[in-house]
Symmetry: C3
Subunit: 338 residues, 3 copies
């Protein structure tokens, strides 16, 4: 089950141009493109005529001409032309989705357009903030999107999965605070005077101890920002700190596949492209370690008894909090629909 | 659902020799071969003993010996030998199918053999007519067979899908007449004094205007002939005309895959093998353009709500007429079976 | 359906070392490894915490540390460590399986460990018997495991499937005796003064006639030994005989895939490694001939009507006897569970 009244990342802004791009979100096919004026558009990628893929058609001005029989829709999905006839049935329209571009990404609202609320787009300002520079990418994962949310909300896994880059013993040895605030989950782990994990040592050029901070924020349906900091012990001195945000948004493709959008955005050595490259490669390798674990987990969940109870531990608090919020919102949505 | 009391193309005649050929039709496995006297035979490709594939066995005279335990069936599917025992249970037989070879193809009747009526084989005489020469092939398509029928019964798609070969604006700008006659659909589009589509110009060696005719005939379950003509305007002069038939028979492999048998058969420049080659390549490329569109359409239908209503347009008349005929025949067949 | 209270081969003994090996048996994921003392261990390959694959974790002494969040289990599946907390919930344990190593193979008991009875491990002593030398392997087959049992219990198929190696007309022409004894099926075919099949002629270096014996024993759930002998006619003279056991155990991976463990173990020319190699290659080729037939059979069963009755023949006696035993045991097990 997916939350419909929510924003999902459909693409990077730079991916959407004057051409038709197909994307599946929560089991629905969408086609994205940009109008002549540069506005991003998302329509259902099914022609209302015979359900051909509109994305195999072509742009005609701000509209789309289906590549099968030439039915032409405007950017709101309303049919403006049917070859060979004057009359256009009022039902000849494709579903259109509200689209907002923010924080480098194209967000689509899967619910009714009139219910779309821009204020619900998660706060990922560091992707676009002056003084910050980001690197990032997209990863296709054969697993339910919530397994990726779970992953990011319990960073004790860094110790086991990512010992080569961002994990070490300090992460599991330090308790994390967890607070649910409305539809958000906030987690915080502060590791004072601790050895840096390998990637931090490499980026900072020293393996001197650090005060390491992880400040995590979950926003529905599957958005997680991690404010990662490393200060010289006892200082909170930003001039000698490593500080970046790990920004993550996971878009369900269907119940068992997901598209994972990520950035690392930092506020130091912004012009150092070699550093950007080093961070990009290390973080991508780190996430690919997660993908191996999570895809195997997905198989083991699918083949297990449906009523199997997992056994909880303290470190699950964030993931369970997030799951409960989403469950409640999906239940409310379903009840309203009845 | 498939019409059982109907003929389906199982193979090209030249494909069936003194060897066992497996083919799936409407979800059923068939094995085809030729007797010593040259008669084409089709049996269920499952041994009645343990359901091994008979097609993995070998021909023994006019019969088939199962390659697993040696059960031998004659060309009517009746068991004539069981290794190690004298007694042959009367139930030891494989289903046999009525087979007729006509118009270069091997047709099998999926219903009860005694109900088989040769008069129901579609009239595709131009594949075999003296004075006509054909070229053709077989294409495997990951889509329900009716999506291919639909495609051929609404040629307005030529304008959008096939602009490089047989489509141009005239096709969508000219209305088509449509008439249902019994279990057939007849369509006709005559485009007077119109620019030729690219392939016609190439074949005729001139881009002078033509009178272009498309005379289409649908015969159940999925057979379409298109009588395509291009005359010098106002003449109906066959000596300077392009005239060919596009002959099409689509065999369902199962609900979502099909095997598409096609020919182009012409009555001009019959000995020009370079021309045959040019037409073959152009038409194959044209059909492969359809396959891309139709396979994407299949995915979008399968992932859509089951109760989704498509929105009809005038150009659908032929496709809808054919679907209604087939639906009625399948319903009658089902009711009779009860 | 699978018999749970039974031993299944999970691996060759030499495959299990100080590393984690994942194996699926009867739809369940298992992880196998060896303790420091050399004892083989099998646990459910799902962490009780979040169902990650334990096989992606690492060995810690005699236990396994999950590679996701570090939950550590001992070799009985009981949790001994949860990072970040003292308290260990008593439900935090993975299922453990009884394991016995015997006849070169690692056997696991799929039922409740306390019900495990070593006496039920099939008698495959010739894999380990002094004076005998074996060669063997593992074959993955896309078919239900019982289709492989059927195959081995009706050797008339040798005549048709294996004419290049172990089959000839004598096999089908000689009747086989069949006797059900408790949960075992015993079959015997003695072919006096018969031409040797090609592989026997090659191994013995002569195509002089032989007395050929096949003494077959089925033990639940899917274990078959074939005592194969070729004597100079009328002699039972072991000094000039070919005698080997074909030892076979088929482990269901799930309902439609299987892992087939096999050996050929002989008591002549034990030190002739060229002969071992010759036999290995010929038998592997022979079994791959079976795989082609059986995988096609599986497809034809799956696509057939569920209520289809196969037609029995005399040669089925062994296969049907074995199926009836297994059916009865599975039914008993199911009734006890209610």
């Amino acid at each position: 089950m997916f939350l419909k009244n929510a924003w999902y990342v459909a693409a990077w802004s730079h991916e959407i141009k004057r051409e038709l791009v197909p994307r599946w979100i929560a089991g629905e096919p969408l086609v994205l493109y940009r109008t002549e004026a540069g506005q991003a558009v998302a329509l259902e990628d099914r022609c209302p005529h015979r359900r051909a893929a509109l994305s195999l058609g072509r742009l005609v001005g701000d509209g789309v001409q289906c590549g099968y029989h030439g039915v032409t829709l405007d950017s709101s999905g309303v049919c403006v032309k049917i070859p060979g006839q004057e009359r256009i049935p009022p039902t000849m329209k494709a579903r259109s989705y509200r689209v907002v571009e923010k924080w480098q990404w194209v967000w689509v609202w899967l619910g009714e357009p009139e219910a779309a609320d821009e204020a619900l787009i998660p706060d990922f300002r560091w992707n676009s903030e002056p003084g910050w520079v980001y690197t990032g990418g997209t990863i296709d994962v054969k697993a339910n999107y919530q397994l990726l949310t779970d992953n990011l909300l319990d960073l004790t896994h860094e110790t086991y999965v990512h010992a080569k880059t961002i994990g070490n013993r300090a992460v599991i040895e330090t308790p994390m605070s967890c607070e649910v605030q409305g539809n958000e989950v906030h987690l915080q782990r502060i590791m004072p005077n601790t050895p840096p994990p390998p990637l931090f040592a490499k980026v900072r050029g020293t393996d001197a101890p650090i005060d390491r901070w992880q400040v995590i924020r979950f926003q529905v349906p599957a958005n997680i920002s991690i404010d990662a900091r490393a200060y010289p012990p006892g200082t909170q001195d930003m001039t000698h700190a490593l500080r970046w945000f790990s920004i993550n948004s996971i878009t369900p493709v269907d119940a068992t596949t997901s598209r994972y959008y990520w950035t690392i955005t930092r506020c130091f050595a912004q012009d150092d492209t070699a550093l950007t490259d080093l961070i990009h490669k290390a973080i991508l390798a780190t996430f690919m370690e997660d993908v191996v674990v999570i895809e195997a987990q997905q198989v083991r969940i699918q083949t297990d008894r449906a009523d199997k109870q997992e056994v909880g531990i303290r470190a699950d608090a964030g993931a369970l909090g997030a799951r409960r919020i989403l469950e409640r919102l999906i239940r409310q949505e379903t009840e309203q629909a009845i």
